[in-house]
Symmetry: C2
Subunit: 211 residues, 2 copies
DNA sequence: GAATAAGTTGACGAAAAGTTCAATTTCTGA
DNA sequence: TCAGAAATTGAACTTTTCGTCAACTTATTC
């Protein structure tokens, strides 16, 4: 075969395996995942999974790498720039929409963190730090310009991250709390409005003089 | 032995096993946890663990039940009553302090939710719903009384829960985001202040007239 | 349409995990 | 002190899982 035109078969099978692996890893964690389960979920025999990946480690690492890459592509455009009100609203809305559409990836990440983030590469962690630092700078510039009230930028970002991630990772709890059967787009919209409105109301300076 | 005065040995060993199990389950999840690892962590031989618990399921269920009971006892006094400002501040502070002191329990709960909350009993889930409903009623009463602005009470509670839980469950990420080596009490205090202040500022009505 | 590379897969062996058991020791109350 | 209950534990048993392999089929190139 040698470099066949697009490596169609290989590409497709690797995607199938990683899709299945992401789902199982997200639910059961690294140690709890059985290769057999990944194989069944992907519709391939176990030996075929081993044809593409040398070990469970390899599959896990590949799934994590793909997840981070996907997050980046989806969220990199959402810069915390421009007008703070619009920026926060767009950011929260986009993150919640992503949580709604890709809850599995989000849970995989959560599981990896619960494990102690041992498999996150230094490069990946540095990337998280860089993104955070950039946004901290933006927020502190807003504060300096008087566009928002004085606030700890890092904890504010964590609060935003936490609030949006929760809807993907803790769906059973969110369902119980909302009294819903299943989470729908409307729920994510309501969440985005509540988070953005409440936090913004607390951030935008009160025009004449504070209480 | 028969009812020995306090069942000292049994009580102590069960506690040891559940302590060890909570830690391992929190890190590796149910399927990823090996009885051998619980045994080693508790300092007891594996067969002794089976003397007290019939199966891995039993240990897991007992750990979850103990966790929920502990949460309840620790947090039940923190009612969302009185003055909203004081109530929210005390609630956030108490939850963060608890997250700081008992991160392992929090992670075990997170892991169980990621699994799909299959082991949470209907009673436990009902308890969560009841607690939520009670607090929703309190918040809506505040809204009706004009003490806080109109807001979706359920999403507000989720936001509080998310923000506080994040510090326990996602410590590696929080560390990276804060640029810290290890999280200390000061970090949790700063987080409590940021969360409570920002959300409160958005909730307390602006006296004369809104912007 | 061969020759060669890529992909498929059932079956297997080794290692590890859950669980049981029987023999032994320690504890407690009388 | 002594009998019976509780607790301890090494070793075995059973099942599951990882990872391998060799035989086989499909795809690609010339």
């Amino acid at each position: 075969m040698e470099k066949l035109q697009e490596e169609r078969i290989r590409t497709r099978n690797i995607r199938r395996i990683l899709d299945a692996a992401t789902e199982v890893f997200a639910r059961k964690g690294f140690d709890g995942t059985r290769i057999t389960e990944i194989a069944e979920a992907s519709g391939l025999p176990k030996a075929n999974v081993y044809y593409y990946f040398g070990s469970k480690d390899d599959i896990y690492r590949a799934a994590i790498a793909r997840l981070i890459q996907g997050w980046d592509e989806a969220l990199e455009e959402i810069a915390l720039e421009k007008d703070p009100a619009e920026a926060f609203t767009r950011y929260v809305t986009a993150k919640l929409r992503f949580s709604h559409q890709h809850p599995t990836e989000s849970r995989l990440f959560a599981n990896e963190i619960l494990r102690g983030a041992e498999f996150l590469t230094e490069q990946e962690r540095k990337h998280i730090r860089d993104v955070t630092n950039y946004r901290v700078a933006v927020i502190e510039a807003w504060i300096a310009a008087g566009k928002i009230v004085r606030v700890d930028a890092r904890h504010l970002l964590i609060m935003l991250w936490a609030a949006t991630q929760f809807y993907a990772d803790f769906q059973p709890v969110v369902r119980d709390a909302l009294g819903n059967r299943n989470l729908e787009s409307a729920d994510f919209d309501a969440a985005a409005r509540c988070i953005a409105d409440t936090i913004l109301a607390g951030l935008i300076p009160r025009d004449p003089e504070p209480i």
